[in-house]
C-alpha cells in the first residue's frame, strides 16, 4: 500500500512539473502487421508515422502493435494500452470486425479513437460517440459513388459482394443511389478464391455491367478469373477492390477499370504531391489509400494536440472537429457524426511507368457526407 502511495505521489509531482509545458501526447496504433491482411496495416503504419515524422513534434509518442488480424488480440492490446500505458488516443485498426471489438470499449473508457479506415454503419448512426472519429470515410461512401456513376452508364447490373457485414453494407450503399434494374444480387463466401460459378452466372445474366466489392485476395482472384472468362461485360467497383496493395497482383486485368476513391495519386493539390513524394522517398513504393487515410488521421491528432491538452477531452474533441489540416484529399471537414465530408472521385486504373495505379477522372460527389449522420444523437 505504502509503495503505491509513494508511486502516486511521484506521479503527481511529475505531472505537476510538466503541466507548465504542453502535456505529451501518447498514441496507441494497433494495426494488422501479420497475417493475410498485413499489407493494409503496413501502409497504415507507414502513412501514420510519415505524418508524425514530418511534424517534428517532440512530445508525441506512438506505440505500434500488431493485432495479427485477431479481434481478441486487439482487445488485449487495447486494454494494455489503456490500462497500463495510459495512451490518450487509439487508432490504426484496418478491419471493421476488429474495430467493433476495440472502439466502443475504448470510448467507454474515455479514450479517443480516430479510425484510419474501418467505418462500420453501426458507429456512424445511432452508435456514434463523441470520442470516436473517422478520418477515412463511412464504409458506404465509395459504394454510393459507384451507384451514382452507374446510373449514367448501365441499366441492368449484377451486383456482388462477400456475405459479411461490410459486404451487405456495400450493396446497400450501392443500391441507395443506383436506380437501374438488377440482373442479379450475388453474395459470395468470405475468403472465397474460386469464382467460376459466379462468373458463369454473370455471363448468363444478360447484364450490361457488374458492380463488385471484393477486397484483398478475393478481388485479385475474381479479376484474374474474370479476365480469362471471355466475358465482355464491364466491371466496376469501389476503390477498395482496386487499391494500390492489390493492383500489382491483379495485373493488366485491372487496366481501365472504373472505381471510386476520395483520393488518387494524380490529384492536383500541393499536399498530395508533397505526400506522394515523401512516401515514395521514405518507403520506396507508391502509397495506397490506406496510407493517405492514416496520414490524415495522424495530421488530425497532431493538429488537435497543438491547441488542446489530451486530458481535457472536450477541448481536444473540439480541436479535432476543426480538422485544421492540409489533406492530400483536398477539402476535408467533419460531419455531425464525426465522419468526413469530402469529395468522392471516379477513378480509373492506369499504367504509369509500368506500374498500375489509379487516376481520378472526375468528381462524382462534392462535399459528400453519409446516410447515417441523421441517426447520430450527440
Amino acid at each position: 500500500m505504502t509503495l503505491k502511495i509513494v508511486a502516486l505521489t511521484a506521479l503527481a509531482l511529475a505531472a505537476g512539473s510538466t503541466a507548465a509545458l504542453s502535456e505529451p501526447l501518447k498514441i496507441g496504433l494497433i494495426t494488422t502487421l501479420s497475417g493475410p491482411g498485413a499489407g493494409l496495416g503496413i501502409d497504415t503504419r507507414d502513412g501514420f508515422m510519415l505524418a508524425v515524422e514530418q511534424s517534428g513534434a517532440k512530445d508525441v509518442e506512438v506505440l505500434v502493435e500488431d493485432d495479427g488480424q485477431k479481434p481478441e488480440l486487439a482487445v488485449q492490446i487495447a486494454d494494455r494500452m489503456i490500462q497500463s500505458e495510459d495512451v490518450d488516443v487509439l487508432t490504426g485498426i484496418v478491419f471493421s470486425n476488429i474495430l467493433m471489438a476495440v472502439a466502443p470499449s475504448a470510448t467507454a473508457q474515455d479514450k479517443f479513437y480516430v479510425s484510419t479506415n474501418a467505418a462500420p454503419a453501426a458507429l456512424a448512426g445511432a452508435g456514434c460517440h463523441p470520442l470516436y472519429f473517422n478520418a477515412a470515410y463511412q464504409n458506404d461512401n465509395l459504394h454510393e459513388a459507384m451507384g451514382e456513376y452507374a446510373n449514367r452508364e448501365y441499366k441492368n447490373m449484377v451486383i456482388m459482394a462477400p456475405n459479411y457485414p461490410a459486404g451487405k453494407d456495400s450493396l446497400t450503399g450501392f443500391k441507395r443511389y443506383y436506380k437501374g434494374e438488377l440482373a442479379g444480387e450475388i453474395y459470395t463466401q468470405l475468403g472465397q478464391t474460386d469464382y467460376a460459378a459466379e462468373i458463369a452466372q454473370i455471363r448468363a445474366s444478360g447484364a450490361d455491367g457488374v458492380f463488385m466489392f471484393l477486397p484483398g485476395g478475393m478481388g485479385i482472384a475474381f479479376m484474374k478469373q474474370y479476365a480469362q472468362s471471355g466475358s465482355e461485360i464491364p466491371v466496376i467497383g469501389p476503390g477498395f477492390s482496386f487499391s494500390q496493395d492489390v493492383l500489382p497482383a491483379i495485373g493488366d486485368a485491372a487496366l481501365g477499370v472504373k472505381n471510386s476513391g476520395q483520393w488518387a495519386k494524380n490529384l492536383d493539390n500541393p499536399a498530395s504531391k508533397r505526400f506522394v513524394e515523401a512516401f515514395e522517398a521514405q518507403y520506396d513504393r507508391l502509397p495506397s489509400i490506406y496510407a493517405v487515410q492514416a496520414y490524415d488521421a495522424a495530421q488530425l491528432i497532431l493538429s488537435a494536440h497543438e491547441s488542446a491538452e489530451p486530458s481535457d477531452t472536450e477541448a481536444f474533441r473540439q480541436a479535432l472537429l476543426k480538422a485544421d489540416i492540409q489533406s492530400p484529399r483536398g477539402k476535408f471537414s467533419f460531419n455531425t457524426n464525426q465522419h468526413p465530408i469530402q469529395d468522392i472521385y471516379l477513378t480509373e486504373v492506369v499504367k504509369e511507368d509500368g506500374v498500375l495505379t489509379n487516376h481520378t477522372v472526375e468528381t462524382i460527389f462534392t462535399d459528400h457526407g453519409d446516410a447515417y449522420a441523421a441517426d447520430c444523437q450527440m
Binding site: L33, S34, G35, P36, A38, G39, I42, N163, K168, L171, L182, G184, E185, I186, Y187, T188, Q189, G191, T193, D194, A196, A197, E198, A200, Q201, R203, A204, G216, G217, M218, I220, A221, K224, Q225, Q228, S229, G230, D245, V246, P248, A249, I250, G251, D252, A253
Partner: protein, 306 residues
C-alpha cells in the same frame, strides 16, 4: 437457366474437383503409406504457388515457374520429411497434428519474411489466355480446361504409378504392412521420403496452377487444406481412388450449392435475402454432406481394406 450455363457450371464443378484431387491425392498417399496426418500440406501448396510466382516474375515464363513449383515443393517436402515427419511415424496422431500445426506457423511466417505481406502477381500463360468456344454454345476459359486436362493426366499417371511400377508396388505393400515391407528389405526410409516429396510436389503443382487464377498470398493453403481433408475423409482415408471420387463429389456439390441454393431460396424470399441465405447455406453444404456420408459410412465411401 439455359443449357450452356448448366454445362459451364458442370465444367466448373469438374475443375474444382480436379484441383482438390491434386491436393487430396498427396495427403491420402502420405497417410496411406506413412500413417501420418499432415496439416502442413497446405503450406506446401503455398510454397508451390510462391515458387511459381517468383520464378515466373524473374524469368518471364510461366512454364519455368511451374517446373520450379514442382521442384520447390518436392524439396520442401523431402526436407520436412527428413527433419520432422520421420520422427513422428511411431507417434500417435496427436503429436503429428501438433508438429504439423507448428510447421504451418513456421512456413507462413517464414514465407512472409521472404516475400513480404503483399500478394504476388502470377498470370495465366499467354498460350492459355482467354476463353474457347465449346460445342453447345459454351464459352470456357482455356486455362481452366487445361487444368482439367492436367488433373486427369495426373490421376492417370498416379494410377499407372501405383498399379504398374516397382515404386507403386512398394507403396501398395507399405500401405498394407509397414513391418513386412521392411522385412522384405525395401528401404522404407527412402520410400517414405520419395512418397512425401511426391505428395508435396502434387500440392505444389496445385498451388502453382491455382495461383495463376487466384491470389498468391500467405495463408492461401489453409482453406483448400480443409477442403482436401473433407475430400479424403469422404473418400476413405488412404485411398487414392477415394480421393479422386471424393474430390469430384465435393467439387460438384460445392459448385451446385453456390449456383442453385440462392435460386431455391429466391422462390421464397426477396432477392437480397435469398442471396444471403443461399450463400450462407452453400458455405455449409459440403460439411453437411460430409457429416451425412460419415454417419452412414463411417470409413468413407472407398475405405481401403480394414
Amino acid at each position: 437457366m439455359s443449357l450452356p450455363l448448366l454445362i459451364e457450371q458442370a465444367l466448373n464443378g469438374l475443375q474444382l474437383g480436379i484441383m482438390l484431387f491434386l491436393m487430396a491425392a498427396g495427403l491420402t498417399l502420405i497417410f496411406g503409406v506413412m500413417g501420418v496426418i499432415n496439416l502442413a500440406h497446405g503450406s506446401l501448396y503455398m510454397v508451390g504457388a510462391f515458387a511459381c510466382a517468383a520464378v515466373a516474375a524473374a524469368s518471364g515464363s510461366f512454364w519455368l515457374g511451374l517446373a520450379a513449383s514442382l521442384a520447390a515443393a518436392a524439396v520442401a517436402g523431402a526436407l520436412v520429411e527428413t527433419t520432422v515427419i520421420r520422427r513422428l511415424y511411431a507417434r500417435d496422431h496427436l503429436d503429428q497434428v501438433l508438429a504439423t500445426f507448428a510447421l504451418i506457423l513456421i512456413f507462413s511466417e517464414g514465407t512472409r519474411w521472404l516475400f513480404g505481406s503483399f500478394p504476388l502477381y502470377l498470370d495465366v500463360p499467354p498460350l492459355l489466355q482467354g476463353a474457347v468456344a465449346l460445342p453447345g454454345g459454351v464459352q470456357y476459359p482455356a486455362y481452366r480446361l487445361a487444368v482439367i486436362g492436367l488433373g486427369i493426366a495426373v490421376a492417370i499417371g498416379l494410377y499407372l504409378l501405383i498399379a504398374r511400377t516397382r515404386l507403386g508396388m512398394r507403396i501398395r505393400a507399405g500401405e498394407n504392412d509397414r513391418e513386412m515391407i521392411a522385412a522384405l528389405g525395401v528401404d522404407i526410409r527412402s520410400l517414405n521420403t520419395i512418397v512425401f516429396a511426391l505428395g508435396a510436389a502434387l500440392a505444389g503443382l496445385a498451388g502453382a496452377t491455382v495461383g495463376a487464377l487466384q491470389s498468391v498470398q500467405v495463408g492461401m493453403g489453409e482453406p483448400v487444406l480443409i477442403l482436401a481433408f473433407v475430400v479424403i475423409v469422404i473418400g476413405g482415408i488412404g485411398s487414392v481412388r477415394g480421393a479422386f471420387y471424393g474430390a469430384l463429389l465435393i467439387g460438384f456439390v460445392d459448385t451446385a450449392g453456390r449456383f442453385f441454393l440462392p435460386r431455391i431460396a429466391g422462390l421464397f424470399l426477396p432477392p437480397a435475402d435469398a442471396g444471403l441465405l443461399g450463400s450462407g447455406l452453400a458455405s455449409m453444404l459440403i460439411y453437411a454432406v460430409m457429416a451425412v456420408i460419415l454417419a452412414l459410412r463411417p470409413k468413407g465411401l472407398f475405405a481401403s481394406h480394414a
